[in-house]
Structure formats: C-alpha cells, structure tokens
Amino acid sequence: MNQALDLLLVFVLLMNFLMLGSSWLRVMIRIAAFQGVLLAFMPLFIHHDGSGRVAALALGTAAVKGALIPSLLLRAMRDASIRRETNPYIGFVPSLALGALGTTAAVLFARLLPLSPEHTGTLLVPASLATFLTGFILLTTRRKAVMQVVGYLILENGIFIFGLLLLDAMPFFIEIGVLLDLFVAIFIMGIVLNHIKREFSSFDTEHLADLRE
Amino acid sequence: MGFENSLVTAFLLISALAASVFSGVPGLFMRGDLQRGQNFATALNIAGAVAGLLAVAGIFTTGTPIRIEFSWPMPFGPPVLIADPLSAVFLIPIFLISPLGAIYGEEYWPQIAHPENGRMLRFFYGLLTASVALIFLAGHWVLFLFGWEIMAIAAYFLVTTEDHDSEVRNAGWIYLVSTHTGTLAVLALVTALYHVTGTFAMTSLGPGIASSHTGTALILLAIVGFGFKAGIMPFHIWLPPAHSSAPSHVSAIMSGVLIKTGIYGLVRFFSLVPDPPLSWGGFLLALGLISGILGVAFALGQHDLKRLLAYHSIENIGIIVIGLGLGMAGRALDQPAWIALGFGGALLHVVNHALFKSLLFYGAGAVIHATGTREMDRLGGLLKLMPKTALAFLTGAVAICGLPPLNGFVSEWLIFVGLFDSVVSPWFWGAFAAPGLALIGALALACFVKAFGAVFLGTARSREASAAHEPGPWIRTPFLALGVICLVIGIAPFLVAPLLDQAVACVHPSADVLPALASLSVFPMISCFALALLILCAAFAWLFVPSRPTIPATVTWDCGYAAPTSRMQYTSSSFADGLVKLSRFALRPEEHRSRIEYFFERTASFSSHVPDFVLDLIILPSFHGAARIAAWSRWFQQGRVQIYLLYIAVTLIVLMAFV
C-alpha cells in the first residue's frame, strides 16, 4: 500500500517541477487540479478500515481541489485575459533549479527527523516539504496575481500531504480547517484581484509598488 | 647501493637548484644588446632541469624519502630538504616546463628585441624555477615559507615585465595584494601548526586534532592560504589579469607550475593529518565543483585568448580539488579505492595540466607573436598560415577537454571512476560530483571549440591575422616535446601509474592497504582504445578522403550567398553567447550597444564583456568604499605645524592617562 502511495508522491513531485518550469497559466491550473485530485485520493491508501466516510471525504476533496477551485481560477483567467507569466522575478530555469535543490534538501532533511517508524521510509514528509517549497517559490517569484493564487494552492497541497501523517491520530478536522483557510484566501484574493484590475486595468502586482508613499 | 644512490640524487637536486638560481645571473653582467647572455641562461636552465629530472628518477627508483640537512645555523633551525615521491611528482612539471619555457623565450622574448627587460625577465625566471623547486623540497615549514615568498616576489617581477603598460602594472598590483593575503593565511597556518606540534618540522598532527575546532581552523587557513595561490574560485582574482599580462612562457610556467604550489601545500598538509574528518572531503568536493564550473563558465565569456586560458586554469584546479576531496573522503571513510583514484587522479592532473596548459600558452604566445593581438575576434584562419602551431594548440585543446586519446582523459577518468564508485557506498555525495565533472568537460569542450575555431579556422578577421607566419624552431621545439608527452601519457598510462602509486602512498600514512593503480587491469584497455582510435581515424582518412588537389575548390556555400566575407563569420563571442546567456545569473555579462534611431544608421557598435564578479563586483567596490572611509581621516592632515604639535600633546596625555 505504501509503495503505491510513494509512487503517487513521485508524481506529485514531478508535477511540482512541471509547475515551476511552465509559463502557461492554463497548464499550471490544470496541473494544480490534477495534483489536488491525486492528493485527495491518498487518504484511501492510508486509512485501512474502508469505511464510506473516507471515500466520501476523498471525493469531496477531489471535487473542491480538482474541479471547483480550478474552474474558478480558469474563469478568473478568462475574465482577466491573461494567458501566461512572461516576466517572473526569477526566471523559469533558476526557479526549477531552486525547486530541485529544495526537493533534495527536503529528502535529506526528512532523514534527520524523528518520525514514527511507519513513516520513516516513505516519501510523505519530503514530498510535503518540497511541495510547500514549490508553492512558496511560485508565490514569491511570479508577478501575476493569478499565478500567486496557484502558488498558494500548491502551498496548501504541501500542507495537506503533511496532514496525511496525522491521519490516524486526528481525523479530518485539520484538513477541513485548511480547506476553509484556502477558501477564505481565494475569496480574499478574488476581491483583491478585482480591485487591482479596477485600479490598474491589469493583473500585474508590479503596479502595487506605485501605491507606496 | 641505496645510500650511494641517494647521495647522487641529493647532489643532482642541489645542482639543479643552483643552476636554476644562477641561470639568469651571468646575463646581468653582459651587454644588453647581445644574445649571448640569454643563450647562457637557457643552457644553464636546461642543465639544471636535466639534473632535476635525473634526481626525480632517482627518487622514484629509491622509493624512500631522501633527506638533505645543511648544518648552517639559521634562525628556525638548519635548512632541511626532503625529497619523497610526492615532491617528485610535483618536481616533474617544473623541471619540464622551465627549460622548455627558456627555449621558447629564445625566440619569443629575445634579448636583442627586448634589451630593456630581457635580463630582468631571465633572472627572475631562474629564481622562480628554483624557488618553486625549493617549495616542493622544503623539509620544514620555515624553509617552505622562505621559498613561498621568493616565488611570490619573483612572479611579481615576471608579471610586470612590460611595466610601461598600466594594465600590466595593475595586474601586478592585484597579484601582489592577493599573494600576500594568501601568504598571511599560510603564515598563520604555519604558526598554528607550530602551536599544535611544537616544531616547524613537517611532522604529523596528533590523533583527534583534525576533528577539533583547531582542526577546522587549520583547514580553513590552509584553504584560504593555498587557495589564493592555486586560484580556487573565490580566491582566483589575480589569475586572469596576471596570466594575460605576463609574457606567454611566463604565463605557461605560472599556470602550469606556480599555481600547483598551492595544491602541493594542500596535499602536504593533508599528508600530515592522520585522521581527517569526513566534512573536509565534502567541503573540498563542493569547492572543487564551484571552481570548476564557474571557472569554465567565465572562460566561455572571454574574448582575450590568454584570459580564457587563465580561467581554464581555475577550472582545472577545480578538477584537481574534486580529486583531492574524493581522496580525503576516502581517507575519512577508510575507502582505499577512493584514496588511490582521487589522489592519483588529482596528482596526475597536476602533471597533465602543466603539460597541456603550457602547450596552449605557447601556442597562444606564437599567435600573439605573429599577429600582435590577443583578441580572438580579430584572429581567424591561422591554421593555413601556422599549421604547426595550430596542430599544437589543437593537441592542447583536445587534452584539456579530457578527451581520449590524450593525457587529460586519463586523469579525469581516474577521478570519474572514483566518483562513480562512491554511488554504491552509503556516502554517496561523491556521485553528485560526477555529473558536475561531466558538465565541466562539456563546457570546456564548447570553450575550446570556440577558441580553436575563432583563432585558427575560417578566414582572417583582420589584416594582422592575414599576415601571420609560422614561428621558428625555438618555439616549435617545445610544441613537439609537450605534444608528444601528452600523447604518450594518453596512450600508455600504465607508464605513469607506478609513480602515482608511490606518491599517493606518501599522502596516506597507512599506505600498505591501498590498491595499486599500476595493477589496474584497465589501463591496457585504455591504451588499446586510444591506439584503435588513432588507427581507425587514419584508416577512414585513407579510405574516404581524396587527396586535396583533385578536388575543385569554391567559396563556402553560405546558404546561397555568393560572396561571403570574413566579417560574416561567427565570432567567438557569438559562439559562446548561448551559454553565457544561460548562466547570466552567475556571469552577469555586460553589453554596450549604440542606440539605433533611424532606418539607415551610419555607425552602430556593439560590444559585450564578462567581468569577473569577485574582483569587479565585490572586491573593487568594497575597496573603493574602504578608500572613501579612509579618505575621511585625511582631515587630520591639516598641514600646520602647530596642529601637529597639538596632536603630539594629546597623544602624550592619552598615553599617560591609560598606560
């Protein structure tokens, strides 16, 4: 069971790389959606009792992460008519390199952590840290506000993976709480986006610098 | 027998040192407009080198260290020379390159053409040779420092041979400042070693010291001190200007041998540490990778031929340091194979780099001699005018890229195998250096295709280049000698393996557990493949290439353009542009172009330049900042005697109050 989970996590990590290297917004939203769906079904691999509750929650998460949020983002993208990130603060190749470095560091760091024995061999912790880091890189180095929302989404995915570690100890409260966070964040971002758009008629966060005294 | 043998070796060594020191002296008293003094110096230099090489052979046949103690009263104990196989490996390049450089100088820097500085050049050249040899032979640290300082001064005067040029003086200053910063660290290292061991003799540290804080301080001092000389990446700042400013045979000996004194210092220091911690190995690996990759990346950005070669010295030092790092990791983890392969590869690369880099500098010198410019973008098409020089440069270029069938491949191969070996062990970090080394190799290849292509292929880009001529026999002799040695080591690496084994045994105290490189069954295979490559190439050439006169000649088919000119060729800068742009986050290339405002602009210009980021973007600005702050203190200099008297009074009062 854990092996299949590890394989899924490898895919998650590869998607991180794709995300860092891509400039097309549509591609990135799709990848983020796909990553979300993969993550949503991961609890099924960990929780063994096979009750319907887990499955229902997995489906719910998949629907939110894989359909609802991406479709909102895609609509925002269409409304704002932005298709790609053209001029990030850190280029695509360096941010890829940064991501690879971060992933390596995460893998090594995870070896040092005093984890419970059933988690030591798996990729859960490194994948979580690396995904978190990927989101962080996207959040900090991209100019377009929509891109930053995607970064936030990835960041949350990283936290979700970490939440899987606690799955047995604590039921889904944490996860639901995080999802709620996310909703609030996207809500706020949506409002902010709209305001930026109205003010500067573009989605470039660069313009926010004009607001300083 | 053994005793007599070592007596002869000792005698040969001392006469080699003496002949080198005095080689330039008689010329000082001869007339400046005659060639005689130079011929005399060259002869003495060759004699000394022959004696030195015979002594090296003696050391290897004896196998045991030869100790020469002089009973002269000196401040820190009588001078002691110790010649062991480790010293001998380093002595090979100095006694090979020094006489070849002297021969080269007969034509490149003849006394008749340079009456104003030829005598000084040869005096310091001999002094440099002797002092470098003294460093390799010094049996205690004070003597080592003695040689170190003489070498620094001699090299300064060699770099500033053409001191009428302000650029050369500038290079000399940068060199002088950095070498003394390095010497400061070496001095601190020697003092610290004295505190730890209680003697200036090169005795080994006690167990456990290396892993303590003292050990950390020692390794950091060693890396800074020796790194400044060797040109390890953040300490390399003096190398490019100095190498490009010095006369070419001086650049060759500096790049080939002088910077290796830093490596020698490191290796000798490591041999005194019985139990190096693992972190040293890892640190050296990282340092070597940075030096290697950045060195070659900066080389790609250069358009001055000798600056390009200078940056390649930094790259090759990086490769050597990678080898050392692997060896040190092997010592820490008790992996005999890594020790043999890492140190063996590093030491062989020391010799190899001296050979092919000198060959390249001699080739570059011949080009400069013939055309008067170092700018690659003003050269081109020289292969037709200087076929022998081109062949020599090509040999050096293939060797420095680490390509078979030449010597560079053998040393890189040893290091590579050691790195690959580490991937199957629990400490797998060495393995991550292997793709880095492959990247270095591929970048070096790109860089030398660029250099060789821009200088020797295509058509001449300037009038100077089209008027070039083949150099005379004095310059071609070193070409031939070095090219043949490069080929021989590449084809028959088993010849040098026993020597390397002896040298590596000096580095690792419990040497009897080391596997012998000489017993590697792979060397014959490398020989076979090198030979097969040559034979196959010859066969294909014979089969498929018709003799040239039978072929009709036309212009280059420039995609239909009927009259291609030399200005339409790809220049060296445009060749490297892609890679420079890719690594711009590290290189920070600068571009200057004139604005084009009209459709048919009469004049337009474009130039690009890759500054050295450590020197031009960190050190010089910070020095300027320091100078600004220091300028503030000039306020005290009021120029009135009364105020100075006041200063004295204030000082006295302050002293009385506190002391």
């Binding site: 092996q3 394989l7 | 991937v423 040239r548 030399s566 445009s574 890679l579």
Partner: protein
C-alpha cells in the same frame, strides 16, 4: 561468435534506422515516402561522387566526419545489444563511452567552424550548447544504473535493469532515467522537437546546418556517423525499456532488432506528432530533464 554478430549488426544496421523514421513520418503524413533502405543507396551513391570543397577549409574539415565515425564506432563497442553483453567491457568504460562521443562532437563542431560560414558557426554553437545541458542528464542516468547494479561498467550495469527488487523509488528512478535518456536521444540525434532533420535552410536547426558544406564521401561518412549515434544511444535506452531475454543468442538478437525497429518507429511518431520547439525553450527543457534525472538519483540513494 556473438561478438562477431554484434559487430556486424553494429556496422550494417544503423543506416536502416533513419529510413524507418522517415518512412513512418511519411506514412503518418499520408505520403508513400522513400524506400526504407534509402540511406544505403545514398551512401553508395555518395561514395562514388566527387567532392566540392570551399577554399576556406583545411584538413580539420575532413577530421570532422572521420573522427566522428571512428569515435562513435568505438563507443558502440561498449553498448550491450539487447540481452547480449557488449563486445568490450571494463571498469569505468562508461566514461570512455561518454568522452568518445564528446570527441566526435569536438571535431564535428570544429569542422563546421572551418568553413567560416555564419550558418555553420551557428549550428556548431547550438550543438555544443545543448550538449552541455544533455551531458549531466546522461551521467545522472548512468549513476542511477550504477547504484542499482553496483557495477561501474556499461554492459553489466545495464544487464538486468528491472531485476533489482521492485520498490517505488527504484521503479520511479528507472522510469525517469528512461524518459531522460529518450530526451537525450532526441537532442543528441537532432530530432524533432529539438531540431529538424529535414530542413536545410532554416536558421533554427542545428545538426544539418553544421554539415552544409560537406559533399561526396565526407557527407556519406557524416550521414553514417549520425545513424551510428542514433543506434548507440538507442541501444542504451532500449536496455531500460525492453528487459526481456529469450534464452538463446539468436532470439536475443531478434528481440533487439525488433525493439530497435520499434524505437525508430516511435521516434518517427514523436516527430510526426510534435512541432519543433522554439529554440529558447530547448535549454529550459534540457535543464528540467537534468534536474529530473538528478531527482531520480536522489530518490534512489535517499
């Protein structure tokens, strides 16, 4: 005996592969296409042709094709052909393998610069630039194989790639290496989407533009060398993709020939499905491939 068969395959099979690729592309495009054996005819024809030579060139111009074929041929001796072990194998031959290909690149690029043409210079610059980025990917893959097999020699390293015990790390690493090497195969052999082997006059291509001035037997050598290089890197990749063995030598060689054919067809399909990438995108993809290969090694050693 096996070695003899392998060397014969090595000498005579490569020119078939470009023919297969071209035929596949033609069929997909709805054309009939040139015969599969076209390159053999071309080689025979070129051997009989006279050369035309630019007066700018020197002996380096001939060294390009000659050294390329010699070096690629020797490198091919290290590569196992399917389940048959390579003709030659010794510790550390992986490095000789990679550096022989490097030697070929050096002289191909130098020969291109020898013509003094801007086009050929451009091609040479791109060739060495992309090779710099592909080389680490190749080496990370080799390291993964060395780690899995505990061998430092190419043929034993690839002897049984999928038999090292199934773990997700190892499987993912192998899959990533296979993907990485496929990209290296396409880049080093100048196939779409990294280069277009069909066009001759575009500013965007790499390998074809380097050899514009070669003609006659020299062009024949270049075409043969290019197909040999595809064969060499393809055989390397096939060990990862097709780990079957039939138990006897004849069967093994048949499997190898079949899978090589399939690889050529696959390449043809990829070429038909994809458009050439913009040139600026190529380094990006190569860096990504290198990083992913590095990630494969990290997964394995973790």
């Amino acid at each position: 005996m096996n070695i003899l068969i392998e060397i014969l395959v090595l000498i005579f099979l490569p020119p078939l592969l470009p023919g297969l690729i071209n035929r596949t592309k033609a069929l997909i495009a709805g054309r009939k296409g040139p015969p599969v054996l076209q390159l053999y005819y071309d080689l025979a024809k070129l051997q009989r042709k006279k050369m035309v030579l630019s007066s700018t060139t020197s002996w380096i111009f001939f060294a390009g094709p000659v050294v390329t074929v010699a070096a690629c041929f020797l490198a091919a001796l290290f590569v196992p052909q399917g389940n048959l072990p390579a003709p030659v194998s010794f510790t550390g031959d992986v490095i000789l393998f990679a550096y022989l290909l490097g030697l070929a690149r050096f002289f191909t690029a130098a020969a291109a610069l020898d013509t003094g043409s801007a086009f050929e210079g451009m091609g040479a610059a791109r060739e060495v630039t992309f090779a710099c980025l592909a080389e680490p990917a190749l080496f990370f893959g080799l390291l993964v194989m060395a780690r899995l097999s505990g061998e430092l020699s190419l043929s034993p390293m690839l002897a049984n790639p999928w038999s090292f015990g199934w773990s997700p790390g190892a499987a993912a690493a192998l899959a990533l290496v296979a993907a990485g090497w496929f990209v290296v195969l396409l880049v080093e052999n100048c196939r779409v989407p990294f280069d277009d082997p069909n066009t001759h006059l575009e500013l965007t291509m790499i390998h074809e533009v380097m050899v514009l001035d070669h003609s006659g037997p020299a062009l024949g050598l270049i075409l043969y060398g290019a197909s040999l290089k595809f064969f060499v890197l393809g055989a390397l990749l096939l060990r990862l993709l097709v780990p079957f063995s039939s138990g006897n030598a004849i069967g093994d060689i048949m499997i190898f020939l079949g899978s090589m054919t399939a690889l050529a067809i696959l390449t043809g399909i990829v070429e038909s499905m994809m458009a050439r990438l913009r040139l600026v995108a190529v380094p990006k993809i190569l860096v990504a491939v290198t990083l992913v290969s590095a990630f494969a090694l990290v997964l394995l050693v973790r």
